[in-house]
């Protein structure tokens, strides 16, 4: 599995070099206003994950990969490992840029931004784990093209139904509504994680969120492995 993960990283390196600078520039710009910073990070992490999957599809390298001494379950597990690393990389980049912005604000005697906090990072982990756990089974079941469409539809429905994004997605124009509050998404995930952190402390909230993300990805990986077993190349 590790060899497949290393393959993903080596093959995807070109996209990392292309996407990461764009990511950094965009995140830097967005961090000036704060609002949207969260979603820029989620979007960039998702794009990196999609880009790695696209490389197998675009170059028609799937028969090559599956002809190597690997099982389909290993291919699936390696892609989940890649997703986790991509998520961590994005979290690292976002945290570094957010921290730099926070420090520059503090140096100008302004308050530390609310959007640069532990609970926001944990919400990122949960939302990205959710996206990966929907996207990857679709990819392994239907391939890159149809899989992307299926995943996009499922994610759109799931985000609206569960109000992951925030009141704006559900059409709420109520007073105090909108997508962000102090640059923090108003969606249910963010609110839920913030409540967890308030009630049990950041460390406990972190453990709960990481556990939830791990369970989500594990269940998703089982579904994806079953889907991949049915695939023929």
């Amino acid at each position: 599995m590790l060899n497949l993960f290393i393959k993903d990283i080596k093959v995807g390196a070109i996209f990392l070099w292309a996407v990461v600078p764009l990511y950094v520039v965009t995140a830097l710009q967005v961090s000036r206003v704060g609002a949207g910073f969260f979603w820029v990070n989620v979007t960039c992490a998702s794009l990196l994950l999609v880009a790695v999957s696209m490389l197998d599809w675009k170059t028609e390298a799937e028969p090559f990969v599956h002809s190597l001494p690997v099982t389909r379950a290993m291919v699936v597990r390696a892609r989940y490992l890649t997703a986790a690393v991509v998520g961590l990389l994005s979290l690292g980049i976002g945290s570094a840029i957010g921290a730099a912005r926070g420090i520059s604000l503090v140096m100008r005697a302004e308050p530390w931004p609310r959007w640069m906090a532990g609970d926001v990072g944990l919400a990122f982990v949960l939302v990205f784990a959710f996206i990966a756990s929907v996207y990857l089974p679709c990819y392994f079941r239907w391939g890159f093209g149809k899989g992307n469409v299926a995943a996009a539809l499922m994610l759109a429905v799931a985000m609206i139904v569960t109000d992951i994004v925030g009141p704006a997605m559900t059409g709420a124009g109520a007073p105090g509504g909108g997508l962000f509050y102090e640059g923090v998404p108003r969606g249910q995930v963010m609110q839920g994680v913030a409540r967890l952190a308030d009630r049990y402390g950041m460390a406990a909230a972190g453990l709960i969120v990481l556990g939830l993300a791990a369970v989500l990805l594990w269940v998703s990986a089982q579904v994806a492995a079953r889907a991949c077993r049915r695939q023929e190349f």
Partner: protein, 286 residues
């Protein structure tokens, strides 16, 4: 003999095509040419061996193991060259080798380096900018560098120039000469096999027509040519395929002695069939 590859009643169903009840085996140290027209099922067999598709029924064994239950062990002993070697276009041959190397327990880096030099592979050039022939050479170097016991080649020579085709065939003949490795060579270019195949397996419309040694094939299969007037109800069943022209017929049979006996004294010519004849005339009725 110890078969390195064995198919028993292998069946694979697709929508619109089925490979049905295919059985043949390949002993260690030999080359088997898998022939058949386009769409006959050659690539399906290759995919089943490589685990890219699952067998619907029957039994497939590679090096004595079932690829479905010993997938990694089996694939570790197989080298493959797909019809169009597709790897990642944006990485170099060198990088590709570094990706492939850790997957194989018997990867031999000095051997790969020697093959790369012999094939004059541009190691730092992106795979996507290589010519078709160079891609095949790179794929072959990767396949040979881990001491594969079974080389599975799917139409490796289509689109290649004659010089490299000859080099490739020589290389494959040398590869099996120690008696330890075998080659399954799927092709519709039958002239490639005349020089090197020990066994010929002919697939048509998803069914096995025959799988025999090359000597048996050329001893049994003959082409009969003559005046169409000699064809009657008694002689027609001799042929597995017949083409009737304005002035002559051409018939293919896998029973040369019977054809000679039945048509003795007739105005006919009996010639050994080529693999092309066998592919072209099998099943042809006029």
């Amino acid at each position: 003999m110890d078969p390195i590859l064995e198919l028993r009643g292998v069946t694979k169903h697709y929508e619109g095509f089925s490979l049905r009840d295919v059985s043949f085996s390949l002993p260690r140290g030999y080359v088997c040419g898998l022939i058949g027209p386009n769409g006959a099922g050659k690539t399906t067999i290759v995919k089943l061996i490589l685990g890219l598709a699952r067998v619907s029924a029957g039994q497939l064994r590679v090096c004595g193991d079932d690829p479905a239950t010993a997938e990694i062990a089996v694939k570790d002993r197989i080298g493959f060259v797909h019809e169009v070697p597709t790897f990642y276009d944006h990485i170099s041959v060198e990088a590709l080798a570094s990706i492939v190397r850790p997957f194989y327990t018997r990867w031999d880096q000095p051997l790969f380096d020697a093959l790369a030099r012999e094939f004059e592979l541009p190691m730092r050039t992106w795979f996507g900018s290589l010519s078709r022939g160079t891609r095949t050479k790179a794929a072959l170097a990767l396949a040979l560098a881990h001491h594969a016991e079974l080389l599975v080649l799917d139409e490796p020579t289509s689109g290649l120039d004659p010089v490299f085709r000859r080099e490739l065939l020589d290389r494959l003949a040398a590869y099996v000469s120690d008696g330890l490795a075998s080659v399954l060579f799927s092709t519709h270019i039958t002239s490639d096999l005349g020089r090197m195949a020990d066994y010929i397996t002919f697939i048509r419309d998803g069914r096995l027509v025959f799988s025999s040694t090359r000597e048996e094939v050329f001893a049994r299969w003959v082409v009969v040519r003559g005046d169409p007037g000699v064809l009657d109800e008694a002689t027609r069943p001799l042929f597995t395929g017949v083409e009737i022209g304005a002035h002559a017929f051409t018939g293919l049979t896998d029973d040369a002695p019977r054809a000679r006996t039945h048509m003795a004294g007739q105005d006919i010519v009996i010639e050994p069939a080529t693999l092309d004849d066998i592919m072209c005339y099998t099943g042809r009725t006029c």
